[in-house]
Amino acid sequence: MTALFRIVGLWRPQAAWLLAGGLVSLAALASLLGLLANSAAFAIGGAVAGGLTLRLLGTSRVVLRYFERLITHSALFRALAGLRVWFFRGLALRAAGGLGFRDAGDLLARLVNDVEALDAVYLRLLLPFAACVVLLPVLLVLFATVSPGLASIVGLLFALSAFVLPLVAARLSLSIGQQLTAAGAALRVACLDTLAGLREVRAFAAEGRMQALVAAREATQFAAEQRLSEAAGLAQAAAFLCAQFGVLAVLIAAGAHVSLVFIAAAAFELAGGMPRAGVFAGHAAAAATRLVQVAEGPIPVPDPASPVPVPANAALKFEAVHFRWAADRPPVLDGMTLDILPGSRVAILGPSGSGKSTLAALALKVVAPDAGRISIGGTDLASVAADDLRHHIAWLGQTTHLFADTIRANLLLGRPDATDADLWAALDDARIAAFVRGLPDGLDAYIGEKGANFSGGQARRLALARALLSRAGILILDEPCAGLDAQTEREFFAALNASAEGRTIILIAHRLTGAERLDRIYRLSSGHAVAAAR
């Protein structure tokens, strides 16, 4: 439930809209009560209002109801859109090192299904709750004019339906909600695994197995849905009976006051939605927990409270850095010291597992050293903001992602204000310009999911061009030529030698081709960097 309060707290920017929705819905409720009471009184008891009042009330009821629906829904969707952005930002802050054990499909389920589950909170729960809170004293005063006994019976049944039953239902449905959110995510993951892995599925003839998996996950979801639907049905039935016995009590005790019968009926109809809403609130609470878990979990390397700006064109210095990925794993870096001068070209060599990529992760503040100090221009990395740092250090990793977008959009990620000429120059340096020129859509060609419409080598060179576009003073290239043939690799280094003048280049590789122009070469072994000759 705390997660739910946290989510509602996040709706502050949309508070004006949400409150406006609440006010209109109260006005619509008032007009309904007026219409019912007056038409009943007019028809049966001594008329309190004329036909004109009735028509006015009828018209205002219809108009207010329309705007109530419109404003409340608009307010809600604004709030949900805000939540989606909040979720993405929160995730980004915690996933600089990639998704890790988070499942992409599960995260998508959170963004879609769990955010949608929250719509019940405002529309079905908060709005009717506010109306019920206003309505209860009105009811008590009205019915007390007939008899205190009737007022207490109506008040009790109303409070039972509007407040007690929903609370009980929410408590009971919390665990069903947890099952349902988890099952929904598992179903989406199974579908995504099957579809993203269509090649593997076909190659291993796994069609039948994947169908069975999807069917099983679906059955789990339906089972949870069924329990939720059962609970909602029971809550509904209980609320219905409260309403029926409330109206019966009014019929028996206040038969002479016809308008009260209709007011009671309308009030109970409003309260009657609450227990069912309580059931969905349990579901929403489970969904809220899943959102908060991801978006507000611990940050691996938190920024300092008042960060220092990153100096430009600065030396990168590792001093006696110790690092291990997990407490039960052996250390990757064991007192490594390394000094990279501004504008220099440095190669860091070593077999896989020697800590080359760890070095990049440390330089980019994806992880923090266990001991020792990393500094840029003399400023400790711990005292700068990660986002600022990453504008000074560009990175091309082995896991660099190509987005299902156009070539242009992919390149602009490296430098959003780049002109077409800049883009072509980078493509030239990455030795892919001729290929792109040959595409009918050129820069606007769609590259497919993870660059699937291009070969592995072509995709790699696009990623390379994106890294070269960046204006950062320090360029970390982690195996830039993996997957490229030897000739392309040589051509690329020739272009790099010519184009990246004045920038610091840190080349991470398992071997050199001989085409690189380098100032220093280091070898990583047993957690130390050792200067090496060619």
Partner: protein
Amino acid sequence: MPQDQAWQNGFGQLNHLDMTESPNLTKSWLRGQQTASRRGVARVVWLSLVGTMAAIAQAFCAGALLAQGLAGQMPSFAIAAAFAALALLRAGLGLLAERRAFTVSTQARSRLRADALAKMLTQGPALLRAQHSAALANVLVDRVEALDGLFARWMPAAALAMAGPALVVLAALPVDPMAALILAGCGLLVPVGMALSGIGAAAASRRQFVALQRLQTRFLDRIRGIATIVLAGRTEQEAEALRTSADALRQHTMRVLRVAFLSSAVLDCAMALALVLLALRYAQGSASPNVASPGVALAMLLLAVEFFAPLRAFAAAYQDRMHAAIAAEQLAALPEIPPAGPALPVRNVTARGVTVTFEDVDLSWDATRGKALDGLSFRLPAGETLVLAGPSGAGKSSVLEILLGFIRPDRGSVRINGADIVDLVPAALSALIGWMGQRPVLFAGTIAENIRFARPEATEAEIAEAARAARLDSVTAGLPDGLDTRIGDGGHGLSGGQAQRVAIARAFLKNAPLLLLDEPTAHLDPATEAEVFDSLRRLMAGRTVILATHSAAAASFGGRRLDLRDGRAVTGRAA
């Protein structure tokens, strides 16, 4: 924002199904689906109709109680008890109807999802060329879920929208024909309003679905590459782009709702009109005195509420139907599964291995991009190895994808042991082939589970043996849980070389006679590459192998070599 526009352009082709589907196909498809659920829905309708009858009886009970109250008499216990009993009956009927509707809906959704998945699997990996996996998953998850409203709400509501009000009018007719007439007249306004609101609603609803699909595709793609975004310092730009997508979804949704709410407003109007007309009728004494008794008046007013209840459900479900019709478009547009022909036997597979021939094969992925393969011919005898060499984009992967059955050649023939590949059913083909791609897809789970994917019935010992043969045991020995170590979505926790070893282990476990290797060592350092090649060499023994690579070390495999350039064979010689 130019970036976003480019995205939309790029996305255009993802939605071609929306553009090409025919409305008639969708309609007849929807009709077929509804017929399949008709019996279940009928029960829901009957339960609800009995509930309406109980409500009518209650209205008269209430009228009688009120009349007694106004006359100053003690309320009759029997009538009050009847009212209470009817209330209990209605509560029970409501529960039963909800339960039935749920069953109908889950059965239908289950059937539809299985059907759509089977069709997607039949189309196979070629689907991924045109569509993002997130967009496909959206069809499989969200569009099927959107049909819930069709079965659980719309179908019962549509049947009850006529029958429920008709029952109420029938009950009112003998008591006060004029009141019955007023109700019926106001009720006729409802379909008029619905028709009005239906204009343009389909287009708005379709745009809403596209916006949702776009948002999902964008988000999934962005979180898969979240490290790339964060490390490029572009989190804020992407968050803003996501806000644009989310806002677009909100605007499209509101456009749909504005119309839907209009139909609700027409209903509110009709109900208010009915109440006002009835009130005026009884107040002005235009009815004959015996009709205008307060009890009758109250009963009629309560009946008005009951008259409109099914219509309100109908109006609410109208949106569900609209939604379902649009959701159905992509489901209906999935191509039917062709009837399975007799599986051609592949001759002498086990005895003599697999022979592969390409004869004058043309292939283009995309007409505008030229040919990926251009009149390619070669023959690979059983048990031999062919190294496909050439720069990236020369067509190496295309050769392998044809053999995998992911795509069909445009021209020419590809034969496996003499049988044309297009005549082989996918299962028969995949039984012959072991495959290692450039980027093996690893699923969240344990390493052992990922190996087992190649052959689910394999024993623990066989999996351990495959891991050993792939030299994966040296990796897992250093892990806390060995082969049962959990890895994340996409192979998180394993290095590139380790992931390739999992793929080799899969190939060992599958033990197929034809081995297709697509740059298996592209991302590995020389030492690791040598080890992987060592494992591969043992895997290749006795099999027919096609190895696409530009690694110099591949020369050590011996065998034939075919140099490709722009989809053509440049040289073919025995090394």
